[in-house]
Each structure stands twice: as C-alpha cells, then as structure tokens.
Symmetry: C2
C-alpha cells in the first residue's frame, strides 16, 4: 500500500450544504480518511440552472480539488452527477470519480425488493433521467418510476423534518410512485436523508429506502480497498470545509446535515 | 418635457423571476413606458447569500442597465433593496432609484388601517430589518411585526398558489403577526403577490394587504410625472428581458409572474 498516497484526502463536492450528508456517512464508514469538502454556496442551487452553466461551475470546483491533490473525487450532488459527470471524469485524469447516482443505482438493483424502483429528486435530476439510465444499464428488466419533489429541499432547510406540512407534501408527491407498487425508493437528493423517518411513515415498512449518502460511503470504502489506497491512520483524520459564501443560517443548516459541529469553514472568493 | 429622455427605458432588476410582478404592475399602470428587465437567474436566490456577495452582484447589474441608458432604476428585489441600496444609488449618479421596500413602507404608513403593521418576507429581508427602519423613518409611532416566510418562494415556484400545503404553511407563518392585531400586512417579497387570494383568506377581510409590485408602479408613475419624464408614446412600448441563465421551467414560471407571454428572452453570459 502507498501510505503517502493513502493519506491524501478524499475530495467531496456539492452545490451547497447537501453533500454534508455524504461527508457524515463517510466519517462513520471511513473514520481514518482525510476529507476536503467543497460547497458552492454562493451559486446554490444548481438544480434550477441550465446544463451549460452547471458544467462550467462543476469544472471550476474539480480543478480546485485536484490542485489539493485528492486521491478520489466524490460528486455529492445529484444535479452535477446527472448532467456534468463527463466534465468531472475528463478533468480528473487518473483520479477515480464516484457519484451519488451511481451509488444509488447500484444499491437499488442489488436490493432484494424486486425490480420496481421509485426515484425521487429535484426537477433537474428527475428530468435528466440519469437514475433510470444508470439503473437500466445495470438491470435491463428494472422498471423505474420517477417523481420530482421540488419542495423537499426548502422544507429540509426550514428544519420542518417532522411537520404536518412536510407530511402532506410527501403524501402528495409520493402518491403516484406508491400506486406503482414499488419495492424500493431511491432518495435521489442529498437533502433527503434528513427526511428518512418521515418518509418511512409515509411509504410504510415494506418499501426499502435507499439513502445515497450511505451507499456512496460504501462504494468509496470498496474502491479504496481495491486500490490499496485506504488511509493508514497515522495522524488524526481531518475534514476541511471550503465554501464560496458563508450565508445566513449556514452554520445551523450545515451542522444539521453533518450531525456534528462544523469546525472552521474557509471561504473561497471566486 | 424631454421627449427623447422620456422614451428611454425604465430599468427593472431582480435576482430572478420575482421582479416580473413589478413589470406586470408597471405595464398596467404605465402602458406607454419602455422597460428593460434584468433577472440574475444564474445566481438566484440572493436571499441566502452574504451581504458582501449581494453587493458585488448588484453592482454588476446596475452597471449593465446604466450602459443601456435607462431613465430610472427600479430595485424589484427586496433582498437587494434591503442590503445593497447604497451601492445602487452611488453608481446611479443622476438616474433616480426606486425600490420595492420604500414603496411598501410608504403605502403601509399611508393606509387608513392604523399603525400596527405586519411585514412578511424572505429571511434575509426580515433579518435586515429594512422595512421596520423605513417605516419608522416615515412614522415614528408605527409598530412593525415581522415574520420570515422561507417556504413561500418555493411554494409559488411550484405553482401551489391555492393548495392545502400552502394554506397550512401560511396559517403557521402568520399566526404570530395576526396575534398582534395588525391593520395592514406588507407582502415584502415580489413572489408574494401571486399568493394574494390565499393570504386574503388566511388573514380575513379587515387587514389591508400591501402589494409592493402595485405600490412600486404607483411610485414610479408619480416620479416620472414630477420629473416630466413620462414616455410620449410615439412608438409602441417594448419590454426586453435579460437573464444570466435560461433555466428549466423559466418560461412557465416567468409567464405565471408576468401574467402574459414573455416574448424573446436574451441571455447575458457572465
């Protein structure tokens, strides 16, 4: 094993704070790894922007992380994974690239709950059809039922994780996919893991909820093991947070996503 | 009257599509005026960004409109009016500047419904305390009760203008200000005029709803008359729309705000 290589950080990036759910899952699954998180909080949300604009912003972030010599890139943003993955892979060169959509798609076809799969996400993710394409590439017999849930992100950011308004909204959004008799439901947005308890109530006990933060951490662990690039843990693992803006409520919302204190946040001025 | 000057366009700007409610009110109140609208759709929303970032973005937009020789600038964005008005006024030089907060504040103290005034808006607008300051400058006896309503913008953009979820959300947000016995309620965000029928139901018949799109159009009409700068109407009035991105759903949402077809949209590449 290349110890020096293994101690290089994992680069995780998102358009805002949502990707912190992936950082949280990585910290739990791979506690020895150093992590650099990049959140483009000055330009969030990407989900309502054009493909050309998203591609341009993504390229900037990838270059930033590559200059910091990351050993792996994790696209912790469904929108970027849906419409700008090629840009990431092209710029990354030899650095391996994982993304939340690939992780969610793999987990959904590996599940024991049959081939009827529901996917929820932001309008851009759903309209890109990226989950359906990746799931079909893995299992041509799978049937994918998709639903855009544009209000879930603002509801999570408002902190209404267990609120009658959120419940009513979830019931309305999920009615069509539940009517299709799905066996599993992919939470195709990094904000959605915070709604898991409420979604569990709304969908019932029988449907498997696929949390792409957890599945991404699993995939990262497997890749690092295969490559012989896992951290040796000679120094305490560190996480650095870079953002393009430190907006109102960032600390509060960020810590809700991360499930612990954020520590120092470094602002990048673009 | 300076006819050539009068035929110069009015420049209206916002962080996104919300300012189109002001354009709509201007078209109805001042149908002979040429209008240039600028929506910074690549970087929307401003309401969650820092004051420094908002100031920088605002300066760029103002310079863009001044190069197009506007005769008046209208800040159709509560966030920019709340935290970046000085930047606008400094750059504008001799060009007069109106803004939605000033218009809403004036209408609220001019109302016949007493001095207990409610104000609703985005978190940034409410936290800036800009409405309370402007209202107090006009009437030191006024009592202002403010409430941030972060979910109203996404609910309007989802098109849930008359939906049980929106009604429940409005009831929850408005409960504290209604308990204060307010006589009028300022809709301190350009998205909120689309919720007027629902808000009317929630607050009852006795409270005056102050729509800052309408009040801004009134203020613009008065200013142009005083300055002798009203359009002569020798050519059909035109409206040009500039945006920094043409995102998914822009046409649909924009036309809902404008209440008519948008025509050609020009993309500015920053």
């Amino acid at each position: 094993m290349d110890a020096q290589g293994g101690d290089r950080p994992i680069g995780v990036f998102d358009s805002g704070v949502g990707g912190l759910t992936v950082v949280r899952a990585l910290m739990e699954r791979l506690p020895l790894e150093n992590i650099i998180y990049f959140g483009d909080t000055a330009r969030v949300p990407y989900g309502v922007k054009s493909v050309a604009t998203i591609g341009q912003f993504t390229g900037q972030i990838v270059d930033f992380l590559l200059r910091r010599e990351v050993k792996m890139l994790i696209v912790a943003c469904n929108t970027m994974a849906a419409v700008a993955l090629k840009t990431v892979v092209q710029r990354a060169g030899n650095v391996p690239v994982l993304d939340v959509i690939e992780a969610g798609a793999r987990a959904s076809v590996a599940g024991a709950n049959g081939t009827r799969i529901g996917v929820i996400g932001t309008p851009t993710t759903i309209n890109s059809n990226a989950y359906a394409r990746r799931i079909h590439a893995l299992d041509p017999d799978a049937r994918v039922y998709s639903q855009a849930c544009p209000l879930f992100v603002p509801l999570v950011e408002e902190g209404w994780l267990d609120h009658p308004v959120t419940r009513l909204t979830a019931q309305e959004y999920l009615r069509p996919v539940l009517a299709e008799g799905i066996g599993s439901l992919v939470l195709g947005c990094t904000h959605y893991p915070l709604l898991k308890p409420l979604l569990r109530d709304v969908v019932g006990e029988k449907i498997q909820l696929i949390d792409s933060a957890e599945t991404t951490a699993e995939l990262a662990a497997a890749h690092l093991r295969e490559m012989g690039q896992a951290a040796a843990g000679q120094a305490p693992a560190a996480c650095r947070y870079f953002v393009t803006d430190v907006p109102l409520r960032f600390q509060t919302i960020g810590e809700r996503f991360l499930g612990r204190s954020l520590g120092e946040i470094e602002r990048v001025d673009w």
